[in-house]
């Protein structure tokens, strides 16, 4: 069979091949595969699809809400006062709580919507009319790792499937020669490690593939010590020898799927370098994203954002971007808030704005959901003299594009920006809403494991209808 023929036979891409194998393998009883037996990979959509792809801009370490998208004038008024006199202060991780700390940055209203953004984001503020700013997100956990697992998998425990895995499990991949869940690693791997991107109890085919935004991108994509011609010859030999397999095994789908898998791997070897070659982009696009920036972390994040757009064009379902290393720390400013947040913002601001503009001008933003979120926010009071500790009680995330109401603010924290008090949301709500926009009912996308029908949203989660356009 020709390669083309094979590819067209497994047009459903990665997930499909994997599932085909699972079905055929009698070692797999039906509880290891989706309960709604899929004709092809995935079992959604359940309703109207608003977004086809997600780009998840993960802000590692927890950006401060009161310094970015949630201005609190009272912090100026009470700057330096003991927060304990004004509200109940919960234990924090370091418990070295100082006085209320005014934001070192000024806020200004932007766009037609007039949504205030701090001067940390001079570029993103120009796109504010695209954003739905959610100021009432909460997390259950004040430690990075718990909170990261919670943000990524809906559970604070290690080893659960990541949202990218769930999305691909629910919908399958539209991409024939790239994985459906890609993590573009800018340099920082979040606390909790690669398990933030794992497939947990879901089949390994849903695992996030870690790409670097430079070079070959992904591990083992480049043939080792061989030429393309030699490799092709070797693959042909493998194919020919595998043709004798039936004589040894009898006819089994599991073997046939494993054989087909080689063609996919081969096509991936070609597709990955293609999607990675951002130097093919016109000069003005490269410039727009910040590839010419003098600040290296900006250039790294620019490459990530640009590759993300190119992957969306190829049909990659879920792309997560982790932050570049700005030299000292992630967004986790227990001290030196000013420099830390400035450097982190500088790395991501221009590339994010460019991504939004570029998606818009290509008409892709309507079908691409962009989510900006950290694992928690930061305290409105200081840690030590000039830092802020973790705060899971209320912080800001934003969404843009695919089915989201543009230019709105949803929810609110109290007057100090400490606790969400209006339209308080949980991570599960964020997940439910993301799935909803993709056309997936979060209560129906289940997988049986350990005696339960597991969900990304566990037994929780409500779709935030108010931000759906």
């Amino acid at each position: 069979m020709s390669r083309r023929g094979m590819l067209s036979q497994c047009a459903n891409g990665f997930g499909a091949v994997a599932l085909a194998a699972l079905h055929a393998d009698p070692a797999f009883s039906s509880d290891s595969v989706p309960r709604t037996t899929p004709v092809q990979a995935g079992h959604g959509p359940h309703h109207k699809v608003r977004a086809k792809n997600i780009i998840f801009l993960y802000m590692d370490g927890g950006p401060s809400q009161v310094d970015t998208f949630d201005p609190k004038p009272l912090l100026d008024k009470y700057n330096g006062k003991d927060p304990g006199d004004l509200f109940k202060v919960e234990p924090t991780q370091f418990n070295n709580n100082g006085n209320l700390l005014a934001s070192p940055w000024k806020f200004k209203q932007h766009g037609d919507s007039g949504i205030p953004v701090s001067e940390l984001f001079p570029h993103v503020s120009q796109c504010v009319d695209e954003l739905a700013v959610i100021r009432s997100m909460t997390s259950g956990f004040p430690e990075h790792t718990f909170a990261n697992y919670f943000l990524h998998t809906g559970s604070a425990l290690q080893g659960r499937p990541s949202m990218g895995a769930w999305v691909n499990y629910g919908l399958g991949s539209e991409c024939q020669n790239l994985p459906g869940f890609v993590v573009l690693n800018g340099g920082l791997i979040p606390p909790g490690g690669l398990d933030c991107f794992g497939s947990g109890f879901l089949p390994a085919s849903y695992q996030g593939s870690i790409f670097k935004p430079s070079g070959t991108g992904v591990a083992n994509i480049k043939p080792h010590k061989t030429t393309p011609e030699d490799q092709r010859a070797k693959l042909d030999l493998i194919n020919e020898l595998d043709g004798f397999a039936e004589a040894q095994f009898g006819k089994h789908d599991s073997i046939e799927s494993a054989i087909k898998n080689y063609e996919l791997a081969y096509s991936m070897q070609i597709a990955v370098p293609q999607v990675m070659s951002i130097s093919d982009e016109p000069q003005h696009i490269q410039k727009l994203y910040g590839l010419e920036s003098e600040y290296e972390p900006t250039r790294i994040y620019a490459a990530q954002c640009l590759i993300a757009r190119r992957m969306v064009e190829q049909g990659v379902r879920f792309i997560e971007l982790t932050c570049p290393n700005v030299g000292h720390d992630r967004w986790d400013q227990h001290k030196n808030l000013k420099q830390g947040h400035e450097d982190n913002a500088r790395a991501v601001d221009q590339p994010i704005a460019a991504l939004l503009q570029d998606l818009r001008q290509r008409g892709m933003l309507d079908e691409t959901l962009v989510v900006w979120a950290g694992e928690f926010g930061r305290t409105p009071f200081a840690q030590g003299a000039n830092g802020r500790d973790h705060n899971q009680y209320g912080f800001t995330v934003w969404m843009a594009g695919g089915g989201v109401k543009p230019g709105i603010v949803y929810g609110a924290t109290d007057e100090f920006g400490y606790r969400a008090i209006k339209n308080r949301l949980e991570m599960h709500d964020l997940h439910a809403t993301m799935l909803h926009l993709l056309g997936v009912d979060h209560t129906r996308s289940t997988f049986r494991f350990s005696g339960r029908d597991m969900r990304l949203t566990d037994v929780h989660g409500h779709v935030v209808e108010d931000i759906v356009s």
Binding site: L22, P26, E143, P179, L194, G198, Q207, A233, N261, S450
Partner: protein, 1018 residues
């Protein structure tokens, strides 16, 4: 809380009733106020409830949260999981108001109500929570009530095992052993024919991989083909079962079930030091084929066995190493909510325990009674009590059994001589004071002068077998003089100085605790609840105190520094500021500095400086009489020994006693084994029952649930536990032959590994949501036989692999495929993909790189540039893992091998008795492009060249044949040889001479390991 509520509301109704009956003007007034109240309710209160609460707390809610309804007055009073929602007339005591203020709960979750709205509800409660007389809304559906007995009766797994008669079959020729009766009878009933026998070489390959996880060599394959003895297969089976590699193969299966890892994961991926000792224990235990009940017992309570199993050669305590399995989970370095962290750790331990041994999901009952199985929340917390009563330590497993004997002898010697001294003094008319008045102050957390022997706990033996009593003679280590103790205390005996504990295989540990020499040198206080954070300990000497809060002890993070305090000689009262942990359960640990002596007397809580001074005075008064006694006694004793001029009878004895006491002690000291390696282990703490946590919330403790085993198996009567945790009793219940789970679960695991699918396919879940057994009678047959034949895992394996069922061909007939497409009845033997470990180990074997060294510290993982993150090991291991088998490669939770992950080695977080078998492009990408695979394949081609030298057609064909024999355990077909030769020739400049360049052979070798036959068993 319920009773006062009822009373209040009753009062309200009674008043109404009385007023109505009275029929006076007061009544009218009262009625008009009632009307007003009801108007207020309808206008202001009900709309608030409807808008903000009823989505989750009404009979019409999609799902009622926390079992709380708020749509009738009665339901407000009845409340939910956390008790009554309102106390009519008392808003400040009403949980509802607390929740609205976001004090305990935060309700409504979507945002706090305005102050005005909250005030409305406060007012409503203050005026008695008026509600119109209306029929209570009827729930549209209620969930089935949890009825444990009914569920038990209704479900197969709780039923006793049926030792039924063997089934009958027609085709008796087909049978190898009784297993075949069960499979064949079901096939015959379905009119399905079993497939033909597998080729002998296919069986051989299966056996090698199934039993030892390695391929047979080309020579072994050839010898087997030539051996026509009908017993040949059985011989191979016996030989493989005796192979030291058996334990490595089956040990890896077991490690999947106990979520084995060598680091803690989480933020910094800290070490789980010495975890590999557990891994090695498992391998040895499986190789030794210890009876499964012993294996289970050692896992659950190996530290408590009166006669632990000793290593046959090195004589160390094997049994205790089994308990390491409890502690292989994730640990958090610095949880903000420690109690919740403990509850999560216990959850994982219970989860793994119950899935591993019992095949049921007890952890599903943490927050509510099991949704489907006969397991109650009470069952969950009764098991949690066993863990609450147990502790973690790094055990000196090599020295402990030997030193235990030394400690007993030492206590014996000391007691003999002490009696002699006492007798001697008595003769002189010097009597120890009558017991001092016991201190009974509430502030005392524990006091070693009158601690019950049961509560005297330590890791090791250095504190003797009991605390020192006041007035007891002892040999002063510094001067060698006889002294009399003036207070009761736990004192470590300097005879034990110089203990050295060896930790291996650790490289990522930020814990301050690792530097404290704890192992074998720790005094552990009873567990207590902290009521006041001001804690003082009365101690002597130099050492450390560690407060172990809710059994948390990693102490690597920014928190909990207060829990570790160093104290110095002469400090006397050591203060711990534990304000943060008031309301928590904790215990203290006391560790002398290396080669230092400490005396631990007591700990108190809640004493201010002045109160402490007063308290101290009373202690001093108590001590005083002993000091007086000691002064007199010591004077006499030491005078006797020093004064040589007066040779009295006493004099001689005193001196003799001292020198002979010293002599015996020194003699014994030379027997102490001072150096030992460490391993993870459990130890008993204070025996206590746990509280049921309402909805699993550690902040909401409910009633105490006594320790017992699963109700459905042995009832819920509290176990009669005399001392400590009671884990040994738990182990006996797990092992009890009448327990229908344990044997079924283990034989099913064995079947699963040999046949590719369990009789119950869901190996870790035999419950309602799991799969039903395809061959229930076979399952019980195997389980019963297992019990009868001494619970030998090896015998069970042998029994299964010698069945004809196991030895069937993987070819299925079209008709059979249509009748039973999922092969549920086993009409053929399904091809199985090898695990990642077996693939890597085969490649190592072929290449000649395999280093068969067994055991020892993990080989560092090879780090690729894609493996990043906090806790990344500083040094990468070598590409080929030093040629060691995959089970010896380090398992760091945050840095798992990409090779293994791609081939479905599970992430270690819970029991995984059945791995996924996925088919992802990462697999071919690894086999095609990973430098390790390319290089091992290249070395394999060199091995081939070494074994079959020469050039020309015959030599080349022979070499291909050798490669097929070593990679696939069979001869190539003519076609296959021709294809390979054609490939080689196509590359060669001169194809006629059949003299091919090494690189072409290398390419061929690489192609062969990329064929499916290399990674599948036929």
């Amino acid at each position: 809380m319920v009773i006062p509520d009822m009373r209040l509301s009753l009062t309200l109704f009674l008043i109404h009733g009385f007023l109505c009956a009275a029929g006076t003007s007061t009544q009218a007034k009262e009625q008009s106020s009632l009307v007003k109240h009801l108007e207020f309710f309808e206008r202001d209160v009900r709309p608030l409830l409807v808008t903000h609460c009823y989505e989750c707390h009404s009979t019409h809610a999609k799902r009622v949260e926390a079992n709380l309804l708020l749509d009738s007055r009665a339901s407000h009073l009845r409340g939910g999981d956390s008790g009554a929602a309102i106390v009519p007339g008392d808003a400040s005591s009403s949980l509802l108001i607390e929740a609205l203020h976001y004090d305990s709960y935060e309700m409504p979750p979507k945002g706090k109500l305005s102050d005005e709205d909250i005030q409305t509800l406060v007012h409503w409660i203050e005026i008695g929570a008026p509600w119109p007389d209306e029929p209570a809304p009827v729930a549209h559906s209620t969930q089935d009530d949890f009825d444990l007995e009914k569920r038990k009766t209704d479900f197969w797994v709780w039923q006793p095992m049926a030792a039924s008669d063997l089934p009958t079959v027609q085709n008796i020729e087909w049978l190898n052993n009784d297993i075949d009766l069960f499979t064949l009878s079901q096939l015959e009933q379905a009119h399905i024919k079993p497939s033909r026998d597998a080729e002998r070489t296919a069986v051989l390959r299966r056996l090698y991989f199934d039993l030892i996880g390695l391929p047979p060599t080309a020579d072994e394959v050839k010898a087997f083909i030539q051996n026509k003895n009908p017993q040949a297969t059985e011989r191979v089976v016996d030989q493989l079962l005796e192979s030291p590699h058996f334990g490595e193969r089956w040990g890896r299966h077991w490690l999947d079930v106990v979520r084995y890892a060598e680091s803690r994961g989480h933020e910094f991926d800290n070490d789980t030091p010495n975890a590999f000792q557990y891994r090695d224990y498992v391998i040895r235990a499986l190789n030794a084929d210890i009876p499964y009940d012993q294996f289970v017992r050692e896992h659950i309570a190996g530290d408590l066995l009166p006669n632990p199993r000793l290593h046959p050669k090195d004589k160390f305590n094997e049994s205790i190493l089994g308990t390491g399995f409890w502690f292989l989970g994730e640990w958090v370095h610095s949880p903000v909510d420690i109690r919740k962290d403990e509850a999560d750790r216990f959850d994982n331990m219970i989860d793994v325990f119950s899935k591993t041994f019992l095949g049921v999901t007890v952890a599903c009952a943490r927050c509510h009674d099991h949704k489907y199985d006969a397991i109650s929340t009470a069952d969950y917390y009764s098991l949690s009590g066993f863990l609450q009563s147990s502790d973690y330590r790094q055990i000196r497993f090599e020295s402990m059994e030997h030193n235990r004997q030394v400690a007993i002898q030492l206590a014996d010697i000391d007691s003999t001589y002490k009696q002699q001294i006492d007798g001697l003094l008595e003769k002189r008319g010097i009597l120890a004071p009558a017991t001092a008045p016991k201190l009974t102050d509430d502030c005392i957390l524990f006091n070693y002068s009158d601690l019950p022997q049961d509560s005297f706990l330590q890791d090791g033996f250095i504190f003797g077998l009991s605390p020192q009593r006041a007035g007891e003679p002892y040999l002063d280590s510094a001067t060698g003089h006889l002294k009399i103790s003036t207070f009761g205390a736990a004192v470590n005996d300097p005879l034990w100085n110089g203990l050295e504990s060896i930790t291996e295989g650790a490289f990522q540990n930020q814990s301050v605790l690792t530097k404290i020499p704890k192992s074998g040198r720790t005094l552990r206080s009873p567990t207590f609840e902290l009521i006041n954070g001001e804690v003082h300990c009365l101690v002597d000497g130099t050492g450390h105190i560690i407060a172990c809060v809710d059994s948390h002890r990693l102490v690597a993070g920014p928190l909990h520094k207060q829990t570790v305090v160093r104290f110095k000689d002469g400090q006397r009262w050591v203060r711990l500021n534990l304000d943060r942990y008031v309301g928590h359960r904790l215990h203290l640990e006391f560790i002398p500095e290396s080669n230092q002596e400490i005396a631990v007397r007591m700990a108190v809580q809640g004493l201010s400086e002045s109160a402490l001074a007063t308290f101290e005075k009373r202690i001093n008064e108590n001590d005083h009489q002993y000091e007086e006694y000691a002064k007199i006694a010591e004077a006499i004793l030491n005078n006797d020994t020093q004064n040589n001029s007066t040779q009295t009878e006493t004099d001689l004895s005193t001196r003799d006693i001292i020198s002979s006491w010293k002599g015996e002690r020194e003699q014994l000291a030379s027997h102490i084994v001072r150096t030992s390696r460490l391993a993870l282990s459990m130890m008993d703490g204070t025996g206590e029952d746990d509280r049921i946590l309402i909805r699993g919330d550690s902040a909401k403790p409910g009633q105490i649930e006594p320790r017992h085993f699963l109700t459905a198996i042995s009832g819920d009567k509290p176990l009669p536990i005399k001392k400590g945790s009671g884990r040994l009793q738990l182990a006996e219940l797990v092992n009890d032959p009448t327990n229908p789970l344990t044997s079924r679960v283990i034989v099913n695991r064995i079947w699963h590994h040999l046949m590719g699918r369990g009789i119950v396919p869901t190996t870790d879940d035999f419950g309602f949501l799991g799969k039903r057994p395809t061959h229930p009678r076979l399952l019980d047959h195997l389980a019963t036989r297992f019990l009868q034949e001494g619970r030998s895992i090896k015998s069970m394996i042998k029994y299964i692999v010698l069945s004809r069922t196991y030895q069937m061909s993987s070819h299925a007939n079209q008709r059979e495929k249509e009748l039973d497409p999922s092969n549920l009845l086993w009409h053929h033997y399904p091809p199985r993909r090898l695990q990642g470990e077996a693939i890597r180990d085969s490649l190592l074997t072929l290449s000649g790189h395999l280093d068969t060294t067994a055991f020892g510290p993990p080989v560092p993982i090879h780090l690729t540039s894609f493996m990043n993150g906090r806790g990344r090991p500083k040094k990468s291991g070598s590409l080929d893992g030093d040629g060691r088998r995959s089970i010896y490669i380090s398992v760091r939770r945050n840095f798992l091998s990409p090779f293994m992950l791609a081939f479905d080695t599970p992430t270690p977080f819970s029991s995984m008795g059945r791995r996924n078998v996925s088919n992802v492009p990462a697999q071919p990408l690894i086999l095609l492009n990973d430098p390790l695979v390319v290089e091992l394949a290249d070395d394999w081609s060199k091995q081939a060249a070494k074994n079959i030298t020469g050039t020309g057609f015959d030599a080349a064909s022979k070499r291909i044949e050798w490669m097929y024999l070593s990679a696939f355990s069979r001869y190539p077909t003519k076609q296959e040889t021709a294809t390979s030769l054609a490939f080689l020739s196509s590359k060669a400049a001169d194809s006629k001479s059949f003299d091919f360049d090494d690189t072409y052979w290398s390419e061929l070798a690489h192609a062969l390991v990329n064929t499916k036959e290399f990674i599948f068993l036929r």
